[in-house]
Symmetry: C2
């Protein structure tokens, strides 16, 4: 989280400015909280240039619930297949949830190649008749990121952007549904932002659990049941910070691109001591995943890094290696400090 937002959050635990109450004690039915939701929505609309036919919803259940909610909304009664990309660990999680609901087709899978690259457009035999097209824009585990928008504009495009949402400008109008859970660029875990076009909301079939019904949440302006007040409040503060302090998504992208370029340059310039995992063209600007010559060195690296104050560098448990996540709130100077540690470690251990 950005330092200034962390300070505001801490103050709000004591008392929200001008309210006389702790953010943990305010009712979710209060005018104050309705205003928080409205302000958060307004910031998202402005940051993304969203036209009015899009709803901005603040939900619970993470991407995992969306993995089910999307097919429950769009695959009943059984229609044409939906098309899915299998580009890494997280998109792999989306497939069984959809298969349990209706017919889907895995259009491309990088599994056999160990998820080291993303598909080219030529490899995607998309069909105009698909129910929808689903992909994940950034695979955090493997450090892969789409630097284009795949799929076709004449098919509903649905994207899980949990790990790169708000990290760069985005033409949201090319999507029917975008969803992103927090704890990356958005705020504390427990809230999921869903950008959903009104024609999708209107297509929700009857009989879905209310919590999985976009229409319920759209009509209630995200206060259908007791929402995660604290998480939504902090998400609003972060969106405000992005807009006012950072200066918008183009400015954020510039910062993120510089951070990633600096870190990848250090990896690439290490004489094969640090080895980037992903194909260069598909490298993620959010998650820099690399290996060291041996698993033992990797373990020593992450443990010495933690002792030096660099937390969370372990690769995902499914993959091992090292992963530096450099989300929006990570500063260029933190990245440079990490590079300093990397050079120092290489001198000692290399």
């Amino acid at each position: 989280m950005p330092a200034s937002v962390l300070r505001e959050t801490q103050a709000a635990i004591d008392e929200v400015p001008g309210l006389g109450l702790s953010v943990l004690g305010v009712s979710h039915r209060s005018k104050w909280f309705r205003d928080v939701v409205a302000e958060a929505e307004e910031h998202f609309r402005a940051l993304l240039g969203l036209p009015p036919e899009y709803h901005v919803l603040f939900l619970q259940g993470g991407s995992t619930l969306q993995f089910s909610q999307v097919p429950l909304t769009l695959l009943k009664p059984p229609p044409n297949e939906a098309e899915y990309l299998h580009t890494g660990y997280w998109s792999g999680k989306s497939l069984p949830e959809a298969k349990a609901v209706g017919p889907i087709k895995t259009l491309w899978s990088g599994q056999a190649e160990g998820f080291r690259r993303l598909p080219t457009d030529a490899e995607l035999a998309t069909s105009a008749g698909a129910s929808y097209f689903h992909y994940i824009s950034n695979e955090t585990v493997e450090g892969l990121q789409f630097h284009r928008i795949p799929g076709r504009d004449d098919v509903l495009r649905i994207c899980d952007m949990s790990s790169d949402f708000l990290s760069k400008p985005l033409d949201a109008t090319r999507f029917a549904v975008i969803y992103a859970h927090a704890q990356k660029n958005l705020g504390p875990s427990g809230v999921t932002v869903v950008i959903v076009r009104d024609d999708i909301v209107k297509r929700v079939p009857p009989g879905l659990p209310s919590m999985m019904d976009y229409r319920c949440h759209a009509e209630a302006h995200s206060i259908y049941n007791t929402p995660p007040v604290f998480a939504i409040y902090v998400t609003m503060l972060i969106a405000r910070w992005l807009r006012r302090d950072v200066g918008g998504l183009a400015a954020m992208e510039k910062i993120n691109a510089t951070k990633a370029a600096t870190l990848y340059a250090a990896v690439d310039g290490s004489g094969e001591f640090y080895r980037g995992r992903a194909a260069v063209a598909d490298r993620s600007l959010m998650n820099v995943v690399f290996n060291l010559p041996t698993a033992e060195l990797e373990k020593r690296f992450t443990s010495e890094a933690e002792a030096a104050g660099f937390y969370g560098l372990d690769g995902h448990r499914s993959l091992g290696g090292v992963r530096a996540s450099i989300y929006n709130a990570v500063t260029q100077s933190s990245v440079e400090a990490l590079i300093g540690f990397m050079r120092d470690f290489q001198q000692r251990a290399g």
Copy 2:
């Protein structure tokens, strides 16, 4: 929230004691967070005297998701009817969610009587063949609370205890599933505690969305996807406070019973200026709902109360009137201060 827990929470936004990191920056995959979940579970087990065949889960989606998850778990393939009680606004919300899944029977409804009382045991024609029996232990809107456990012990008993969980001792072994969302006695909104017996977990049918599958969450010890880290942490702090500082649920009940008795005595002793809404035998110890002679006086009362620092006294939008919620964290002295304001207001306006 208890003042001491609020202070601990605020400190943890800066840095969790001994961890060197903000609670908003720790990974949900860290050993620290696994320990938080384990400690929270341990406190719940100790407070409730839970035997090992019960799981303690920390989920998302509130009671509303449980309204669907329970029938999706137990009403497929179509079996005998499940029996539901309709005792107020919130249990009314549970009925359509269940009806969308399978056959249910409303065993008793207080709607025609305006939800001013709860059913007697003689009024409940329960059946030994029911799939399960579902009720809500405390109706926050109407201020009604069961002071006994209704239903039969030879049928799966399922209860939404969102608004009186941990307010008093409880024989959890008489229940198959207990669920309670936070923002009442538990902590900040965004987490739902589910106590579920292992035979129910084993009965989860295949093909449910993972987020609605008790088995997924039980196997993952509540860290199946990204959980609401902050809300679970604060819930753990509150459970620790209840156990160590308050001295357990019997001590908590004593405090709560005194608070409620004092407040109801003030209502009853006001010469009909303040009029309790619920039947005396079914009065809630958590939500004291009362009326004033006119709706205008009620409006003036809640608005002057807010100016005097008593927030959230408006009755639910569906009902009007006044509602004083006196959950665990509200102190006897706060209740006495409110009574002072009530006497003062009556002198001025009565």
